[in-house]
């Protein structure tokens, strides 16, 4: 199980996380920020984290 957290202050709504995610975890939000819509589908691949240009995402294993 994976915990996906978003630092909203850093997010600029570029949607790269949504584009690289293989599991549709993200969706475009209405205020120009990304929304974590399906955290339970996350497989922990970290693609969103390493493609986020703003250090806004963290994906950590849930204990």
């Amino acid at each position: 199980m994976w915990k996906v957290s978003l630092e909203e202050d850093y997010c600029k709504g570029c949607w790269l996380c949504k584009w690289v995610c293989p599991k549709n975890v993200f969706e475009e939000g209405t205020v120009g920020k990304t929304i974590i819509q399906a955290e339970n589908q996350c497989i922990g691949c970290q693609q969103c984290v390493i493609h986020c240009p703003d250090f806004a995402l963290k994906v950590e294993a849930k204990e």
Binding site: K12, I50, P53, D54, F55
Partner: protein
Amino acid sequence: MSSYEHYLNKDKLPLFWCRGCGNGIVLQAILRAFAERQLDKKKIVVVTGIGCWGKADDYIDTHTFHGTHGRALAYATGIKLANPELTVVALVGDGDGATIGGNHLIHAARRNVDITTIMVNNFTYGMTGGQYSGTTPDHFLSTTSAYGHVEKPFDVSQLVVAAGAPYVSRTTTYHARQLEKYIGEALDRQNFSFVEAISQCPVHFGRSNQMAQPVETLAWIKENTISVQQSMKLTDEEKVNKFVIGNLVDREQEDYSRRYQKVQELAKRGV
């Protein structure tokens, strides 16, 4: 502490770069490479120039030097030669590193001073508003080439290989894992090591060329990326505006400082 955050100046965030700019991806890869090697930040000097990528020093919690446009490698040469124990990392853009800085790039490579040089190549002069640079691809538009670009671009990595650098790799911000790997290799090599990171500039380059959304610009980069092996099967025409990624050269070669030590020994013996 093995986290990249150890090297990040968090109080300067959010990053000032545009929405979707690839600079942040490259910055993260660099800080991860530092973290993986548990590098002592007091022994790292990050040297930048002018441009969007040149402002990366604001966000890095190591020794830093922010110099003039195009001259990062010259400053880095002095910094490194005076203290070879330092890990000197030069961050240059395609304007900074390959256009105004072109001469310093080829000489730093030729001289083989142990500097890890990471070039973000986004085919534009972003900070000044999207004018063309020495790497802007053929036929693409920019704010100073509204009728089409009439110059051919440098293949910067090949230029650096030809100048004699013993380690050269190229990849893109789409291939972020490979980017971190190459940056790590470059840091590990004790010689002039060059990593070219092809990156998206959606707001200037993208917008001038019908791909204004970050996803569109990065998708264009991804779709036009080929490996070194694939490129060998293509004709020159087929390779135009394709990005050949991979490790281009990786060989052992004594760096300037180690060679100069021998000069010092000779001089002291009075030879």
